[in-house]
């Protein structure tokens, strides 16, 4: 059985419908990538799972439980943590405090602690007393990932973590992913960088205009298929 599943998920912003019946599934230990152009609904999908946007209870299932209508704090408490688009560090908190606040809702024993997050991203230990927002973009992204890991989530949602970062910085950040997987988290990454998504994921979903247009293992997806699913032209 899938660990996390959406079934016919829809989402609206006022009169505007952003998602039209999205079905995705994440198996335990798996990493999936959601790709798609701007406005395809990727971030809306993440926000719906994380509880920032609420839904029909049945639309999102986590470990068999209907969580579609739950608000964000209840979702974190169940073990789904999100690295939000744009990092969203707390400017009034230092790097270390940003990490510590990550376990406010779910102080669960597990691999991740302040110590192990500093081992994953050693630069953060040096910058621990700085305000989170005084760091470079890549370092801020490390704080945002570390902050989400601090709750020892079973599912980690990463929304556009490479947005606005230099390729070398993106590579550095993705280097951490095998260790995050090894520690037991299943991962959903939202990526605009198709190459990066195909490298990191076991399976890929492609979205266009609020619908899933293609899914499968990276090896099974040809460039032409992705191109068609991404832009809607053959």
């Amino acid at each position: 059985m899938a660990l996390l599943e959406t079934k016919g998920l829809t989402a609206h912003y006022g009169d505007f419908q952003a998602l039209f019946g999205v079905d995705i599934a994440l198996d335990p230990g798996e990493t999936i990538a959601i790709i798609g152009a701007n406005g395809a609904g990727k971030t809306t999908l993440m926000r719906s799972i994380a509880g920032i946007l609420t839904n029909q209870p049945k639309a999102v299932l986590f470990d068999g439980e209907e969580i579609g209508a739950m608000p964000a704090p209840d979702i974190v408490a169940r073990g789904i943590a999100m690295v939000p688009e744009g990092r969203k560090l707390f400017p009034s908190l230092s790097v270390e405090e940003n990490l510590l606040i990550g376990r406010y809702g779910r102080a669960v024993a597990g691999h991740w602690s302040l110590e192990t997050v500093y081992e994953l991203f050693p630069i953060l230990r040096e910058r621990r007393a700085n305000p989170g927002t005084a760091l470079s973009g890549g370092q801020q992204q490390m704080v945002a990932i570390g902050r989400a890991l601090m709750s020892n989530p079973r599912v980690l949602l990463c929304d556009e973590i490479s947005l606005g970062l230099a390729p070398v910085v993106i590579r550095d950040i993705y280097t951490a992913f095998p260790r995050i997987r090894a520690a037991g988290a299943s991962i959903v990454v939202v990526e605009q960088d198709i190459g990066q998504a195909l490298k990191v994921a076991d399976r890929v979903y492609c979205m266009m205009e609020g619908r899933i247009t293609l899914s499968g293992a990276p090896a099974a997806l040809t460039r032409e298929k992705i191109h068609a699913a991404y832009f809607g032209v053959a």
């Binding site: 964000a72 009034s92 406010y104 779910r106």
Partner: protein, 287 residues
Amino acid sequence: MAWLDTIIQGVLLGGLYALFAAGLSLVFGIMRLVNLAHGDLIVLAAFLILMLVSALGLNPFLAALLAMPLMFAIGWALQFFLLNRTLGTDILPPLLVTFGLSIVIQNGLLQGFAADSRRISVGGLESVSVALGPINVGVMPLLTLASAIAVIVGLNQLFYRTSLGRAFRATSDDPVTAGLMGIQPKRIFATATGIAMVVVTIAALYLGTRANFDPTIGPARLIYAFEAVIIGGLGSLWGTLFGGIVIGIAQTFGAAINPEWQILAGHLAFLVVLLVRPRGLFPRAVD
């Protein structure tokens, strides 16, 4: 030495204004909520202490200690069930609702306690003074200032040393992302107002023992509190203490020149600071 005496009396009076202001500063700092009923809530707490003193025959300090959890509960419920509904991008609803609340509290107190002037007696402690070198200072004003400093230190510790304080600051920065951390912003706001009401209770103890009070004096205390917060700079608790002291000193100097000038001098000091440093003396760097 008259001027030194005036300054010291002013600093001690400033402690009272800082106590009025600390709760206001806390609530504004965390949820950008301007509580226009703050002064009336201080008066409400003073009546609560008075009731406990007269009904149970308690010492006022003990009565205030007993009133604290009650006021915390009132503040928590007020925020959770009423004021949280007014928060949003529009700043007008909280102003209107707390303005209405101010009128409701005043009239409720008038109904319950009549318009008579009251005072909480501390059994002769009011007239006890100690000699600090050449200056005699009252024990109660000294206790007021000491309490104000203790409140500011305590709130700073809470803000910067505890997990609740981190949650306060994170929620103040960004309530949506705070939700992703497992923080429930509405409960955090309710807790903040509850804590502000504990500070209000301490302020009420000194308000009620220092001078006469009646149900209508709340709004004037609100003005002093506002001025202290703005002189100090929004969001800075130490600034709030300093702002209270500035008003206190200005008032005692005004009164030393002419007793009629006491209140006016405090407001003038506020205007001068506003002209020279519109953001206050110690504005918070991150806003």
